[in-house]
Symmetry: C2
Subunit: 692 residues, 2 copies
């Protein structure tokens, strides 16, 4: 096989040619059967073609700098490196006597080991390194693509996509640029992702047919992802037996329905033997589901799980179920409660291969939410924790917003109240953390931010979110700041050739300063203190303080002339705090103990309420909004400072344009939020700054 | 020619078969050359075919009940009835000795006379009537269709259309249902309309080509409208010389540009000799215009006027020019001022055949605005006053909102301060009224509410707005209430055949009660006291109090915890009041004299400000919003009361469904507005009603 190369105009992201220099200029032995090591061999071969090194599979004649050996059942080659069961994806890596050695039991593991060497670059070939074993902490690291085959009249081709059209579909058919898909698969493998869905969870009529008469499309993509250790999953509609099968019902307990799913799934596996499984959004925002038949979500999920079980497939069943036709006048309904109320009682009723997929927060991918209590409430169920790489509520890839610090906080959240030590040791005690819960045979899932944009993500710097997602899925204890630097070093390699920069240290410093705190900057100039959702309805970009205040979507802030916030206490509010175990049920309930950053999520307080920070709520609003804009301006200044750093002019200009928009938008946020709260509260800014 | 009959599924509106019974069952003489009276003859012929009467053009053998005689230059027939110059559209009508006589100088006049007899029905053939002369008060009564040839990705096919697709265009081509267009032309003629544009003032690339290589489409429609006395106008883009002509400029003073327009216009008239002229939206909401070349709007309008002048055509040049990229933080800019600031200084600079088209209010078709000061400020310019039949801001034809009382107030507004006596006498003194100003060779224009919906207008009762628009254009002093009854009687004729009702009196009473006050009901439950624009951005349906508060569109209310309203005074505000002559410049400036219904348009006042009505502003808000909903509910009750009246079941059900939506929407308005102002003011309802 040949290594996929996207068209010249497509940015190489974190796999530029220079990233392969250390390997490609050396001598490598790839050990294993031709088929099993084909991907690894081809990657090293391509690197050597460019940088003058050599690669062999046949013998160990002469000295090798790097040995990549497939061991165990999957590979008949050298076995020296195997210290214990590495599984499908694990590998060992060490260096001694001038030889860097990677061993794995299975092709995917060897590939992950190779990419580890790529990340290390020259340092993989320096001092000796003790051999260490590496295994992913979470079984599945999955990217969900909300891509429509047909362009949706409202949502466009990629729902919540900010990077152009789909890389999978064009004009209702499969793309004719499959090289782009191959290049994508390769990037994902290098980041640690091992599962994808290629269609939107909102399944339209055209997309429904991927399951049956458009199975060839699915097989084509599966063939492309397979060499990179990535399994293909499919979003399906719960109504498929009716829509596709012509049945009168989709009742999960109906025999004909069960037969239809069994037969249909058999056909899928006949065509794609390593098919990953189904993803389902049911009884959610208008999608069909088991409620129509008086059945539970366990009934629904198990129906599909049973169909998939004979082949080792899994169903990801989303817990994003709530009343989206809520009446804002009814204060007893709390959207934050919904997923827990629906799913927690079902714990223990799901099959082993049914994975309940839970958004990280109880509402919807806000820049700040508490961790969803559902994640801590289903110990007998496999769970997928769902993040959002695409910046739906975090600036549409027009704003720099490096999200891994948020994700890291979520993954490290412990339901027992202890904070997770991020010691970089994947074998460390994950305790009751979200990462540990997802690690119990579950999944770390995320909505992708990729489209057919030349920079993949609209904003070139948004590639860092995509990269770090996979890396955190492999090792949730990884330091987001270190991952950022890792991404910078890979993406902007040193050198004097095209695509390299002369002074990578200076560039790294600038990018690091721009990106590392950018999520908190974004939080500062948008909705304050965890209250969320002060965005324009529909597109979710830019401020609209009351945009969802009278909305059927159930997303309110209740600001009046005296105060703001949502009372979710047991004592006087919606009782949502009771969905947490201790200590969180007490911490969040208490106005004294509740963390500042979530105060307005849990409590309605007067504007002069004193925060732990020493500031009042109203002064905090003013201060953070002025500060957030200043930080956005400083971000842009840093970019202007490196205008001479030798970056690709198209990339430089793209980022510069988007920083202009970020500054404009941040000012709009600041001025609308400050004006709104000044008009309501009548309390002037303590520092006398201009509020309109 | 044959009388146009739309497909069976299309509602006959105000020309059902029964409306022709009185004529069709009698003996009529149509006098005039075959060609000149063709339309009139065909209409009477069709009525006689149905109801057993007779019609002849050849002689007066035997007794006639009705004589329709074309006199003067245009017709060689009987001349007895002509008392003075009737012009193209005037006619006389009288009855004596058992003969009802209509005379006219031109075909259109005779047709209007015929439709007058239709309106009179049996009473045209009862007691003697003194012969009276009828002439339209306003030269042009024009319907503008904001129809796109191609479906616009955001605005759909008909911009601000709520009645389905276009009746003119389908799938980028001319419709294949030309009978529907013929039926429409006939309805318009019966209401008094004599001009139409068939494409949107926002001219896309496809629509631009109507002027040149798609002229056949224009000619096809002109041929359809011509027999009904209706001239066809075309919306054109100011950039046409560049877009279509390949010129490098559209500068109105450039010789090549002037030549291009002259040559292009010559080709239009070669194909459509009675072509009406152009409609232009220039330098407005992104449309190109003369500002790009440092030229004035007079330069722009005169360019087109000069091209049209040799053929008797006119250009309608819209005055809807304002900064639509305003910064809400800048309180010195006032959108209400814009049209006057742009156009008033140009008075006297426009050609005689350049008509400046002014929206009735200074902002944008709100349910309540003061009359635009531009209308009173250009005595040396021909003006078109633009209304909106389509219910963009008045409920999307989902709400019953009979608009003629609003239009009548506008048309009767006198810049000198005297109120217009609506004495039904078209020869009465219109003084300085808006109607008189439009009557100075100008136009009454309106955006149509018609689409390919079986009921034409989405809401069957919205047909009344379309009907009364034409009738008010003919006679601005007509009583809107009388026009409503006229429409009811024509549309729901008495009888026991299909399409008739057994008890028309009861039906009229119910419809009258539902519709006559419906505009004020709509006003009560929406934005209070003239402040306007508390609608959802974009679609303009339903409440969003802050929807435009931070908007670039320049439409604010400035509500804070103390008060609400826009200060447009000269003393402390934007100075807009200074655009009116006395007494209005004083009346509106004065907090004491300003009419309640416009208070918040002109003044920012505290919530406890006392209105002339004796209520405070805040209590007025509460009271009107509770009352408005009660009225909407009563409206629905009245409709339920006449479920047994024998109406067409499809029509009945359509109205019933929409009344449900109106009640739901009115409640949403009430609750959002009341809650918003309660949360800001903290002042409780004096009557203790529930505010959320």
């Amino acid at each position: 096989m040949a290594v996929a190369a996207p068209a010249d105009h497509v940015h190489p992201a974190w796999l530029p040619a220079q990233a392969w220099r250390a390997i490609g200029s050396r001598h490598t032995l790839v050990s294993g059967t031709e088929k099993s090591v084909a991907t690894v061999y081809a990657e090293v071969r391509a690197a050597c073609d460019r940088f003058g090194g050599s690669v062999t599979r046949l013998s160990v004649d002469g000295e090798a700098d790097l040995m990549l050996a497939l061991t165990g059942a999957a590979g008949p080659g050298a076995t020296a490196g195997a210290v214990d069961d590495l599984g499908e994806e694990g590998y060992t890596l060490g260096r001694t006597g001038g030889l860097t050695t990677v061993t794995a039991d299975a092709p995917a593991g060897l590939l992950y080991g190779l990419f580890h060497v790529v990340r290390l670059g020259e340092s993989a070939f320096g001092d000796d390194m003790a051999t260490r074993t590496h295994r992913p902490a979470i079984r599945r690291r999955m990217l969900d693509h909300w891509d429509n085959v047909d362009v949706h009249p409202v949502m466009g081709q990629v729902e919540r996509g900010y990077s152009g059209g789909s890389i999978f579909w064009r004009d209702g058919a499969i793309t004719d640029d499959l090289d782009r898909v191959r290049a994508y698969a390769r990037l994902l493998a290098a980041s640690g992702v091992n599962a994808v869905t290629i269609n939107n969870v909102n399944v339209g009529r055209t997309e429904a047919r991927l399951l049956t008469d458009r199975l060839d499309d699915v097989a084509t993509f599966a063939d492309i992802f397979r060499p990179y250790g990535i399994r293909l999953h499919l979003s399906v509609t719960f109504a498929a037996p009716m829509v596709l099968g012509g049945l009168a019902t989709a009742d999960p307990l109906d025999e004909a329905v069960r037969d239809w799913w069994a037969a249909t799934t058999a056909q899928v596996y006949a065509r794609v033997p390593d098919f990953g499984g189904y993803v389902v959004k049911a009884d959610s925002e208008g999608q069909p589901g088991p409620f129509a038949y008086g059945r539970s979500h366990a009934d629904g999920a198990n129906l599909l799980a049973d169909a998939l079980a004979p082949y080792g497939g899994v169903v990801h069943w989303r817990a994003f179920v709530y009343n989206h036709r809520q009446d804002w006048r009814d204060r007893t309904t709390d959207r934050a409660r919904a997923a827990y109320d629906h799913f927690a009682p079902l714990d223990g009723q799901f099959r082993d291969n049914a994975i309940v997929q839970v958004k990280y927060g109880p509402v919807d991918f806000q820049p700040r939410e508490p961790v969803s209590p559902v994640i801590g409430a289903m110990p007998a169920t496999r769970l997928a924790v769902e993040l959002q790489v695409t910046q739906e509520y975090t600036g549409h890839q027009l704003h720099v917003c490096y999200l891994p610090p948020l994700w890291s906080e979520v993954l490290g959240f412990r339901f027992d109240g202890d904070s997770l030590e991020a010691d970089g040791d994947v074998s460390g005690d994950l305790g009751s953390s979200v990462a540990a819960i997802a690690g119990r045979g579950g999944t770390l899932a995320a909505v992708s931010n990729v489209g057919d944009d030349p920079f993949w993500c609209g904003h070139p710097l948004a590639q860092a979110n995509l990269y770090a997602f996979g890396r955190l899925g492999w090792d949730p204890t990884a330091d987001p700041t270190a991952l950022l630097d890792e991404w910078i070093d890979l993406t902007f390699p040193a050198g004097d050739a095209a695509g390299t920069v002369a002074d990578p240290g200076r560039l790294r410093q600038a990018l690091h300063a721009m990106m590392d705190g950018s999520w908190r900057t974004y939080e500062r100039y948008t909705a304050p203190l965890g209250v969320g959702f002060m965005v324009n309805p529909g597109n979710h970009y830019g401020p609209s303080v009351d945009g969802y205040e009278y909305s059927r979507w159930g997303t309110y802030h209740f600001a009046d002339r005296d105060g703001v916030g949502v009372d979710r206490t047991r004592a006087t509010g919606t009782g949502y705090t009771g969905q947490y175990p201790k200590p969180w049920s007490e911490v969040y309930e208490s106005l004294t103990d509740c963390p500042d950053e979530l105060l307005l999520f849990f409590h309605h307080v007067p504007y002069d309420h004193l925060l732990h920070s020493g500031s009042t709520v109203i002064q905090h609003i003013y201060d953070t909004h002025f500060a957030g804009v200043d930080e956005a301006i400083a971000m842009r200044e840093r970019w202007l400072d490196i205008a001479d750093a030798g970056l690709d002019p198209a990339l430089y200009a793209r980022v510069a344009d988007r920083l202009d928009e970020q500054v404009r938008s941040a000012r709009e946020w600041r001025d609308q939020i400050n004006t709104y709260f000044f008009r309501r509260s009548g309390i002037p800014d303590a520092h006398g700054r201009r509020i309109h």
